[in-house]
Each structure stands twice: as structure tokens, then as C-alpha cells.
């Protein structure tokens, strides 16, 4: 991309940010009567204006810019509407701590999300259909980088949009972590003190907000990253020209953008102090930021659900000729298993959040003990999604490991059928283990032991994967380019996550481990091993397919060798202090515990991880235009997408292929996986 739009974008960002700040400050002064320099209104305006102006400078008033502008307009209109209605009904107070009352903010935010969706343009075709007007089958995208900022129906563009948005949220969530890790580096509150004020929160409140946002932003980035790889790869892996429902695919991506805006807005609307788990009664009395969190996650859930629907329909209906179930690429099996979970269980987190939102807005006593409600019910509904959700996080990554190993060891994937079934097995068993998050919750006593049994059961299909991977490596001809490094790192780190699971499953041991940094270490292992490393592997792997260039091997290796030891130090350090009494989610800890040194090391490790990710970002963006050209079968893979030139044709395979053999028969002389249809005068 040439520098002028980018420079213009940053200029607009700064100018609009300043204007927004002044406007917000002025408005706040008019209403509250004092100049609140670090207050919410000024900050909110600054963020919204600068963010929107950035895209306007980059790209003009269309696509994402228009979406964001409409979101702001929609939010204001909705909020004022409710304010007016409440004033007419005689409700008091008409305004709230953050200018609008909470009902106005909630309705405004919802209206903002819907306005964004209309503004960005994803509804255009559907509106035409409702009016009985037909639309063309394909929408050709504009060439160049602009298409990534508007509605595109091409799954490859959407996959990249998802991936880049995920990276963006990782950067923000990671930055928040660096902030609170800096505070945690030594005992006693250093800068997030009780007298510190920012965004209408004291230091400890801000700690809780940053920690909570770190959690949810990372989780959403994982969901988007997972959708990114699945959307990008599944259609061309099965030989389709696109997903079954391209418009819904685009919708599922675009709805995640206003959802992210809402979650970020919670920071400036008083924050929220519950962690991403949002347990009532604490969440029913948190500030307005809590509602922005709830609504943001609720909306992001639509992305997950609709994306999953699309994947299942695509794999069922759009496969190439000859692609039977047992000849599907293994990553597609992972995508199916993931989508089964995402399609169904996600509704439950939406429901659980919706119930708290309504409890706050209308006094409905679902989880309010004084009204006969049951706080533990929330936990059941919440974890019924949130446990299977972790399999949504890791099944695609484990699928990436299985998909990439054969390419770099030059031999078949060991036990393909069993690996395929193990993904389904993990998905299914994953539905019946949720209450292992609730062993100390006060739920019915008799539930604890059955859930211990079911939780231990997940180890069986997971073990099948590990053993199969080892057997795949065994006797191979192993090469170690960057994608393979990340695959191996994934296996190793996921192994750590896997073996630190069973102690948590043992109820009595969990009584000690629950809510400590042991658990934090365990899930960072499973998430880095099951998602983060495979995500990087997938990006390094398919980057040439998307751009026709390679990312730098040298800097890829620097990324890996800087991130991995740092991460291992981080996770072992966390588990160590967790066992010895370091609780989760605390802004400060007693110096007498003797954890200061370890915490300092953890913070340094965090910064090193951040540095390695920064190196990755630079490598990624730089290589798009300047990477070494790589237009052919860079990895010598048997998979069909590598048998056509890079970058990929918009409709994937102008000449269709038929499946004539097994996908992973590396080393079998004369074997082929696919055969392209004969075209007169051309040979493939």
C-alpha cells in the first residue's frame, strides 16, 4: 500500500482525536460543571473520533468508515430515544453517571451495532432480496488493499479480515496485560493506587477492568482467529469456490467489529470488575461498562454461531467430486467439530449474559437471592458454553498441527481416521464437563464426582492426538522451517497444558488449585499450545498462498526463539506461585508471600513475548509487499491449494479437481491426492 493513505489516516487520527477530546471535555463541562481531563466522556469521544477518522483518512467514507459513523449515530439516536421515553414516563434520574442512563446506553449500544451493520453495507443484498430484487451471484472486489476494509464476499478476503482483526485485538489485550503485569512486578500498589483516577475508576478498579478486558479481548481474538483460518482454508481445502453462504460469511465477520467497539467502550464507561466470567451478584451491581461487555460478547457470539453454520453447510454440500468423508483434509474435520460446538453452545453464554442484563435493567430476579433467584444457576448456564468454548479455541489449532505435520515430515498422518474421530470425541465429551469449573461453587454435592469422571474422560481422545503426532514424527524426514517450528512448539506447549489438567479434575486437589495462578498457567499453556502457536504456524504457512510472497524465515525464527523460552518461563512461574498461594485476579499481593522475584520475572517474560509478537507484526506487514516472491508450491504440499499459482484466484479453482487418492500419502510413489480436470492443451 502506498504511503499517502496511511499518512493521511494517521494525520486524521491525531486531528480528530484532538477535536473529539475537546468536544468531549466541553460537553462534560456543560453537563457536570467541571473539567474532567481524565474522565470518560472526553476519552470516549477521543477514541471514537480518532478511530473513525483513521479509516476515513485511509479510505474515505465507505465500508468500515461508514459503518463506524453509523454506529456512532445509531448509538446517540438510540440513547436519546430511550432518554426521551424515560423522561416522558417520569422515570428518574433521566441521565446517569456517564451522561446517559444505563437503559439508554444499552439500547443505544444495540442500536449502534445494528446501525453499523447497515452502514457497512452487508445488508444491501438481503434488503434487495426482501424487496424481490435479484442480485448477481458474484461481487467482484476492487483490486488492492481497499477490499479488506469493505464488504467482500470472497472467503479468502474475509479470512484475512478476521485474522488481521484478531491480531489487532491481541495487540490491545496484550497491551492491557503489560500494563497490569507492570503493576504486579512488585508487591504493593505502585501506580494503580486507590488515589489514582482514570476513566472514572480508581487504580484497583482499573486493574480489574484491564484484567477483565485482557481476558475477553483475547478470547474474542481467539474466536476471530479461529474463524479466520477456518474461513480462509476450508473452502479451498474441500475444492469449493467459496463458502455455502458468502453473504452470511461477510455478516459474521462484520458483526464482530461493532462488538469489539462495545467491549472497548466498557473501559471508558466505568469499567467492570468481574473478570470475563461476569458472575452475578457482582455483575449485577457493576458500572455501566458491565453492560457494554455483556452486549459486546452477545453480539460477537452471533459471529461465532453464523460462521459455524456456514462451515457445516459448506462441508456437507460443497465438496469436490470424490471427496468422501475419509478423504477430507484433517483440518476440515477439526473445523466440523469446532463448528458443532460453536453453533450450539454459544447460545448459552448469550442467554446467561442476557439474563443478567435484564436483571439489571428490569429487576428480574434470576440470580438475586433476595428475590428467590439462584446465583449458581448463572454459573451452570455460563460454563455450559464456556467449557466447550475452550475446545472451539483449540480444536482448529490441533487440526492445524495434524494438517501441517505430514508436509514437513514427508510421511502420512498416523491414524487419520482416529484423529478425525478424536476431534468429534473431544467436542462431544466437552459438552458434559462444564461443572468442573464449579467444584467450589456450592452447587449440589452429588454433581462433583460425575463431573470429575467426565472431565478425566477428555484425556482419552486428546491422548489419541498426541500419540498420533509422535507416531507421525517417528521415522520422518523432518524439516524445520518456521511453520514447523510453531507446530512443534504447539505440541510441546499443549502437552504442558494437557498434563496440568488432571490435577484440576481431581476435586479435592482442585479445592487448593481453584482460583490460583496454577490455573492461569494451565490455561495459558493450553491456549498458546492449542491456538496461538498453531495460529502463527497457519499464518506463516498460508501467507505465500494469500500474497504470493514469503515472510522472512530469519525473523520468523527470531519470533519463535524469543517467544518460546519467555513463554515457558511465564507459565512455569505462574504455576509455581499459584501452588504456593498466589490467587488469581488480584491487583496486589502480600510481600510476605515471597513472590516478588517471580512476579518480576513474569513481567519481564511478558514484555519479551510482546516483543516477539511485535517482530511478527513487522514481518507480516512488511512481507506483504517486500517478501521473497513465492508463487508456486513453496512447501511441496499435496494439498490442492498448492497445486495452483499464488495468490489464489478469486474463485479458487477455475479448473475443478477430483479426489483420486489419500490426502497424506507422502512417500508413496506415484500416488496423487487430487487430479485437475483435463483442459485442452494444458497439463497440470
Amino acid at each position: 500500500m502506498n504511503n499517502n493513505p496511511l499518512r493521511k489516516a494517521f494525520l486524521f487520527l491525531v486531528v480528530a482525536g484532538a477535536v473529539g477530546y475537546g468536544l468531549g471535555l466541553g460537553l462534560d463541562f456543560l453537563v457536570a460543571g467541571n473539567l474532567n481531563f481524565s474522565g470518560s466522556v472526553a476519552s470516549a469521544f477521543t477514541l471514537l473520533f480518532s478511530f473513525t477518522a483513521f479509516f476515513y483518512g485511509l479510505y474515505g467514507y465507505r465500508g468500515i468508515t461508514r459503518g463506524l459513523v453509523w454506529q456512532v449515530e445509531g448509538t446517540l439516536i438510540g440513547a436519546f430515544l430511550i432518554t426521551g421515553i424515560r423522561a416522558a414516563m417520569g422515570a428518574t434520574p433521566i441521565f446517569g453517571a456517564f451522561f446517559f442512563s444505563e437503559p439508554a446506553w444499552v439500547f443505544g449500544a444495540l442500536s449502534g451495532v445494528l446501525s453499523f451493520i447497515f452502514g457497512v453495507g452487508i445488508m444491501d443484498d438481503w434488503i434487495k432480496w426482501a424487496r424481490g430484487i435479484d442480485t448477481p451471484k458474484y461481487h467482484e472486489d476492487e483490486p488492492g488493499w481497499e477490499k479488506y476494509f469493505s464488504v467482500s464476499l470472497d472467503h479468502k478476503v474475509i479470512g484475512i479480515q478476521y485474522t488481521v482483526t484478531a491480531l489487532f485485538l491481541i495487540a490491545i489485550g496484550g497491551t492491557f496485560a503489560l500494563i497490569f503485569r507492570t503493576e504486579l512486578a512488585a508487591s504493593q500498589l505502585q501506580f494503580l493506587t486507590t488515589t489514582f483516577r482514570l476513566f472514572n475508576q480508581t487504580g484497583p478498579q482499573l486493574y480489574n477492568t484491564l484484567m477483565s478486558l485482557h481476558g475477553i479481548l483475547m478470547i474474542i481474538s481467539i474466536l476471530l482467529g479461529v474463524s479466520g483460518i477456518i474461513n480462509y482454508a476450508v473452502p479451498f481445502l474441500v475444492g469449493a469456490h467459496d463458502m455455502a453462504f458468502p453473504r452470511m460469511n461477510a455478516f459474521a465477520y462484520w458483526v464482530a467489529v461493532p462488538a469489539s467497539v462495545l467491549m472497548l467502550m466498557s473501559l471508558v464507561l466505568g469499567g467492570f470488575d468481574t473478570g470475563w466470567t461476569g458472575y452475578p451478584p457482582l455483575s449485577s451491581r457493576a458500572p455501566v461498562g458491565m453492560q457494554m461487555f455483556f452486549l459486546g460478547v452477545f453480539t460477537a457470539g452471533w459471529s461465532s454461531i453464523l460462521g459455524a453454520l456456514n462451515v457445516i453447510a459448506t462441508v456437507l454440500r460443497m465438496r469436490a467430486k470424490g471427496m468422501t468423508a475419509m478423504r477430507l483434509p484433517i483440518f476440515v474435520w477439526a473445523g466440523i467439530a469446532t463448528s458443532i460446538i460453536a453453533l450450539t453452545a454459544t447460545q448459552l453464554i448469550g442467554l446467561s449474559f442476557q439474563l443478567v442484563m435484564f436483571q439489571r435493567l428490569f429487576g428480574m430476579g434470576f440470580f438475586d437471592a433476595t428475590k428467590g433467584g439462584n446465583p449458581v444457576l448463572f454459573q451452570h448456564l455460563f460454563w455450559f458454553y464456556s467449557h466447550p468454548a475452550v475446545y472451539v479455541f483449540v480444536l482448529p489449532g490441533l487440526g492445524i498441527i495434524s494438517e501441517l505435520l505430514p508436509v514437513f515430515v514427508r510421511k502420512p498422518l498416523f491414524g487419520y481416521r482416529w484423529i478425525a474421530m478424536s476431534s468429534l470425541g473431544i467436542a462431544l465429551v466437552g459438552f458434559v464437563v462444564w461443572a468442573h469449573h464449579m467444584f467450589t461453587s456450592g452447587m449440589n454435592e452429588y454433581l462433583r464426582v460425575p463431573f470429575m469422571y467426565s472431565t478425566m474422560l477428555v484425556a482419552v481422545p486428546t491422548g489419541v492426538k498426541f500419540f498420533s503426532w509422535v507416531a507421525t514424527l517417528w521415522g520422518g524426514k523432518i524439516e524445520l522451517p518456521t511453520p514447523m517450528l510453531f507446530v512443534l512448539g504447539a505440541i510441546f506447549i499443549f502437552l504442558l497444558g494437557g498434563i496440568t489438567g488432571p490435577p484440576n479434575a481431581m476435586v479435592a486437589v482442585d479445592l487448593h488449585l481453584h482460583d490460583t495462578y496454577w490455573v492461569v498457567g494451565h490455561f495459558h499453556d493450553t491456549i498458546f499450545g492449542g491456538f496461538v502457536y498453531p495460529f502463527f504456524a497457519a499464518i506463516y504457512f498460508w501467507f505465500p498462498k494469500a500474497t504470493g510472497r514469503r515472510m522472512s524465515e530469519l525473523w520468523g525464527k527470531v519470533h519463535f526463539w524469543l517467544m518460546t523460552p519467555s513463554f515457558l518461563v511465564l507459565t512455569f512461574g505462574m504455576m509455581f506461585i499459584g501452588l504456593r498461594g498466589m490467587r488469581r485476579r488480584i491487583a496486589d499481593y502480600d510481600v510476605a508471600l515471597g513472590f516478588d522475584t517471580t512476579h518480576l520475572i513474569l513481567t519481564i517474560a511478558g514484555y519479551l513475548i510482546a516483543l516477539s509478537v511485535l517482530i511478527f507484526f513487522i514481518n507480516f506487514f512488511y512481507s506483504i509487499k517486500n517478501g521473497e516472491k513465492a508463487e508456486g508450491n513453496v512447501w511441496n504440499s499435496r494439498s490442492p491449494e498448492w497445486l495452483v499459482p499464488s495468490p489464489m484466484h478469486p474463485h479458487n479453482y477455475p479448473v475443478p479437481f477430483e479426489v483420486v487418492g489419500e490426502p497424506y500419502d507422502y512417500g508413496l510413489p506415484g500416488s496423487k491426492y487430487v487430479e485437475f480436470a483435463a483442459v485442452k492443451g494444458k497439463k497440470h
Binding site: P375, M452, A471, I478, V509, L511, Y666
Partner: protein, 339 residues
């Protein structure tokens, strides 16, 4: 074949070395309860399992990376084998049996920690944002109940904690005792603890409960039966003494209900306004007006915290207490004394 032997030996070596290292590392805090014994036993089994599982996967993996690496100039592919059904069945069914056995052991283990002594003392625990309230059994002679924000217990005797919360979900945890249990508003949960080691510990809240969750930590003192009785008797005398005057009653109520988590009595600025010099002073509110902190103001602020908020404290919500009128009057009387 040679590969398998080497790998086998390495797996055993790595497992053993790892276990020795982890065992020596003193991963857990000192065990100070009877319930800790079965838990630490099971933890040890888990550590052994982790070492073996780690070795079984990591050793062949790293071995392969070394031995089956493509050397410079080598062409050709890896060994061509697609699977082995017997192996698949073996490594599915053996782990299946193992996990079921583990779960069974876990169930037995759990029941070991739940053994109840029918003569256990019952102590009522209430979690409040952000303090602990421990109610000891009533004194048989005077009927007075000692309520403290510290948990004192005699060593070697089982206690049954009957716990609830007056606001949000909290969780009771002393790392040296191992066991943990949430405190849920609207219901009672129970925790059985038998302290076995005298010493000074801390109970920390183990369920995120708001701004000062990190600070919801109070002392737990395990002493001999005699020392415990002495302490209890002292507390009883204090309670009776203070109970004679409204100011004293107020002071008791304040110490029992965790007001100090937000309000200091020495002028220090905290989450809430300080009480030092509060009574009779001018207070600026968030709407810009100024009021005098008299009985009416303080009473209203306790009964209905949202009614008038002091400027600078608008970010924090005060807990809704359910004190009686007398109790509030006593607290006001106590606050009056803080000059």
C-alpha cells in the same frame, strides 16, 4: 528396534529425574490441616503422572527431531506407514482404564476430606465486601456471641464453618489448609477443617468480589486449646465491655462488618471517606452542594448509600447493609468519637 530401546530408557530416565526435581522443589505450602493429607497425597500421584506423561510424549518427539531430521543433501521422504489399529486400540483403551481408576481414586480422596466429626464446633462465617466475619459459639454463661474479623482455632479439633455472603460471591481459602469453598448469598455452604499445625496463617478471598478483592485477607491463628480459650475469653470481655455503651457497640459493629476496608479512622484516604473528624464537618457532594455530616446524614448514608455521594467517591458503590435502627445509632455514636 534400537530406537525403541533408547527411547524407552530415556523415557524412564526423564520421568524419574523430573519427579526427583519436582519433589525436591517444595511446590506446596506447609500442610496445616488434616484435610491437607489426602490432598497432598493425591497431588503427589498427579505429579508422578505428569512426569511420566510428559516423558512419554516429549522424549520420542525430541528424539525424532534429532534422529529423523533431514540431513543436508538428503532427498526422499519419510517411512511410509499410515497407522496401526492395534496400537490405536491400545493407546485408547489403556488411558481409558487409567483415567477411570484415577477418577475413582479422586472420589475416595474427596470423601476423605469431607469426613465429619459430629462434635465439631460450628463457626458461622459471613463474607462481606471486603472483610470476614467470624461468629463463635455463644458463651454458655452470658449468652454473648463473640464476633471477630479474625479466625482463631485450637489445634487438633475439627471445626465446621457454616458460611454465607451478605453481598456477592466470596470464597474461603487458607492455602496451608488446602480446602476452599465459595460463600454464596442466599444460602449456606459448609467447610470442614481440622487444623493440625499451630501458627499464624491468612484467610484470603478466592473469588473475585470487586475492587478490594486483593485486600480481603484476614489473620487465622491456630494455637493450643489453652491459648485459644484465653483469646476467646479476652474477646468476650471486650464484647461485654464495649456492649455497655452505644459508642462501644458501634465500635464492635464497625470492626465486625468490615467498614475499615473502605473507611479509615485515622484520616487516611481510602475507597470511602475517612471517619476521622467526619462528624459535624462540612461535606461536599457530587452534585456540588455542601451538607453537614450530622446524625441524619450519616444515618442516611448507611441506610441508603446511593442517596448522597461525597465528591471524589462517585466511582465506588457502598455495600447495602441491613442494620437495625439501634445498630445504626450506635455506629453514629462511635463515629462521633473519632476526632
Amino acid at each position: 528396534m534400537r530406537h525403541f530401546v533408547v527411547v524407552g530408557i530415556l523415557i524412564i530416565l526423564v520421568s524419574v529425574l523430573l519427579y526427583i526435581g519436582l519433589d525436591a522443589a517444595e511446590l506446596l505450602p506447609v500442610a496445616a490441616s488434616a484435610q491437607a493429607t489426602p490432598i497432598d497425597w493425591m497431588w503427589n500421584i498427579q505429579v508422578i503422572a505428569m512426569c511420566i506423561l510428559f516423558a512419554i510424549i516429549a522424549v520420542p518427539m525430541f528424539y525424532s527431531l534429532v534422529v529423523f531430521r533431514r540431513r543436508k543433501g538428503e532427498t526422499g521422504d519419510g517411512m511410509h506407514f499410515e497407522g496401526n489399529t492395534s496400537l490405536e486400540i491400545a493407546w485408547s483403551s489403556i488411558p481409558l482404564v487409567i483415567v477411570v481408576v484415577f477418577a475413582y481414586l479422586g472420589a475416595v480422596n474427596l470423601s476423605d476430606t469431607l469426613r465429619r466429626d459430629p462434635s465439631a464446633t460450628i463457626i458461622k462465617v459471613t463474607g462481606i465486601q471486603w472483610s470476614w466475619k467470624f461468629e463463635y459459639p455463644a458463651d454458655p454463661e452470658t449468652g454473648v456471641v463473640v464476633i471477630s474479623d479474625e479466625l482463631h482455632l485450637p489445634v487438633g479439633k475439627q471445626v465446621l464453618l457454616r458460611m454465607t455472603s451478605s453481598d456477592v460471591i466470596h470464597s474461603f481459602w487458607v492455602p496451608e489448609f488446602r480446602v476452599k469453598q465459595d460463600l454464596v448469598p442466599g444460602r449456606f455452604t459448609e467447610l470442614t477443617i481440622t487444623p493440625t499445625l499451630e501458627g499464624n496463617y491468612k484467610v484470603s478471598c478466592a473469588e473475585l468480589c470487586g475492587t478490594s478483592h486483593y485486600f480481603m485477607v484476614k489473620p487465622v491463628v491456630i494455637s493450643s486449646q489453652e491459648e485459644f480459650e484465653v483469646w476467646l475469653a479476652e474477646q468476650l470481655i471486650i464484647a461485654i465491655d464495649l456492649g455497655k455503651t452505644p459508642e462501644g457497640q458501634g465500635q464492635l459493629l464497625v470492626s465486625q462488618n468490615g467498614c475499615a476496608a473502605c473507611h479509615s479512622i485515622n484520616g487516611a484516604v481510602g475507597i470511602g471517606p475517612t471517619w476521622f473528624g467526619l462528624f459535624g464537618s462540612d461535606v461536599e457532594l457530587t452534585d456540588g452542594s455542601t451538607v453537614i455530616a450530622d446524625e441524619a446524614f450519616i444515618t442516611e448514608s448507611i441506610r441508603n448509600p446511593e442517596a448522597k455521594i461525597v465528591a471524589g467517591f462517585e466511582t465506588q458503590k457502598m455495600v447495602q447493609y441491613t442494620f437495625t435502627d439501634e445498630e445504626i445509632a450506635a455506629i453514629v455514636a462511635y463515629i462521633k468519637t473519632l476526632k
